[in-house]
């Protein structure tokens, strides 16, 4: 990390950096989310589609499991509306994979559609962020994830079994759709809320 980076204090601990995989088809949004994450002291890999994300995660079998561990992804943050594979479809694929389902997934969307938010949270998304995503959203997310990560490591040490054979979810409180919507209410109120997606 450059010395001139401004002080959210990217102090290097003994642990590895928090690695986020960002998925968005918009080049502008990728640049912004990458910057937001880097400022929040995360290592970032940004890809432009769900299929590229799955390739990176090694789900198409091209990577050996050894390589995957070295590239360990701590969080996936994905746009909802993307051509080809939507963020929702990507979420389902990740949660449907024994290798990957432990990785928390956050969905971003510019549209405040309650049915969409519910669907994503039900499918196992950790959080749902309204676009445009702001620094405060990312910092809150990172803090939340880091706390959860510590708990997970504690549990892992106590259990002494490999992570992916365990079906337990980390002991974190899942945000309710309302709580998540409220965290970016200010922006959500700018567009009408659509209850049912056509």
């Amino acid at each position: 990390m450059a010395v001139e980076d401004i002080g959210s204090g990217c102090s290097s601990s003994g642990d590895q950096e928090f690695h986020v995989l960002a998925v968005d088809d918009s080049i502008i949004d990728r640049k912004v989310i990458e910057r937001l994450l880097k400022i929040s002291c995360c290592k970032v890999t940004a890809v432009d589609s769900g299929s590229r994300a799955l390739q990176y995660l090694g789900i198409d079998g091209e990577r050996s499991s050894l390589e995957f561990d070295e590239l360990k992804v701590n969080l996936i943050i994905t746009d909802y509306s993307m051509p080809g594979m939507t963020g929702y479809e990507l979420l389902k694929k990740i949660k449907g994979s024994t290798k990957l389902r432990q990785i928390p997934v956050v969905i971003m969307s510019s549209e405040n559609i309650l049915a969409r938010i519910d669907r994503c949270l039900e499918e196992g998304a950790e959080d749902f962020l309204m676009k445009p995503v702001q620094l405060s959203d990312v910092e809150r997310l990172r803090d939340f994830m880091l706390r959860g990560g510590e708990e997970e490591r504690e549990l892992g040490r106590k259990r002494k079994t490999p992570d992916d054979s365990c079906d337990c979810r980390p002991l974190r409180k899942r945000p309710t759709p309302l709580a998540t919507a409220c965290s970016s209410t200010f922006r959500a109120l700018e567009e009408p809320v659509i209850v049912h997606e056509s």
């Binding site: 401004i6 912004v32 937001l36 445009p132 620094l135 056509s198």
Partner: protein, 177 residues
């Protein structure tokens, strides 16, 4: 004299900074830019001094591409309204991400007039008779707003360059809208 030179320098960059603040305040008041632009400015620091310029440049390139696509699609014999909708959605997203509020609003209006599904199911009305006409008008509006904000942003960023060249510091913006 040395002191005189430094004084003039400070004066010069102060004037530029005042100009900059007045110019940007006007943009917020007129709704051309919104708070998201300030969010972007917050992401700029010594290690990434050109962040805003880079994002805005990407926005210009991407928007031009989308506008060209839209013109091309509307020019075709059988207009693909789903493609139109997808492109406008993209432009709405990117303009929203940089804070180009009026472009974003023009895109929202565009989509509500030219919703792919609605076009097929409208009753007997102007939209059914001339849906591509409606879309052309909407496109015109989006183009107008885009060119306006492009113009203003280029001027704003030029002012920033001048301030830095004069040894000043670009002031932090406040949303006065």
């Amino acid at each position: 004299m040395e002191i005189g030179g430094e004084y003039l320098e400070i004066l010069g960059s102060s004037i530029l900074m005042t100009d900059y603040l007045e110019y940007s305040n006007a943009l917020f008041r007129e709704g051309l830019l919104d708070g998201q632009f300030i969010q972007l400015q917050m992401l700029r620091d010594d290690s990434n001094p050109d962040f805003v310029v880079e994002v805005v440049t990407l926005f210009f390139e991407d928007s031009q591409r989308i506008l060209n696509e839209l013109s091309k699609t509307l020019d075709e014999q059988n207009v693909d309204f789903k493609k139109i909708d997808a492109n406008v959605h993209q432009l709405k997203g990117s303009s929203s991400s940089i804070g180009a509020q009026r472009v974003r609003n023009a895109c929202i209006a565009f989509r509500s007039f030219c919703d792919a599904q609605d076009v097929e199911s409208y009753g007997f009305c102007f939209f059914v008779l001339f849906p591509d006409q409606m879309c052309l008008r909407c496109l015109q509006q989006v183009k107008q707003e885009y060119l306006l904000v492009k113009n203003k942003l280029e001027a704003l960023l030029r002012l920033e360059q001048q301030i830095v060249a004069a040894g000043g510091v670009v002031p932090t913006l406040n949303d006065v809208s």
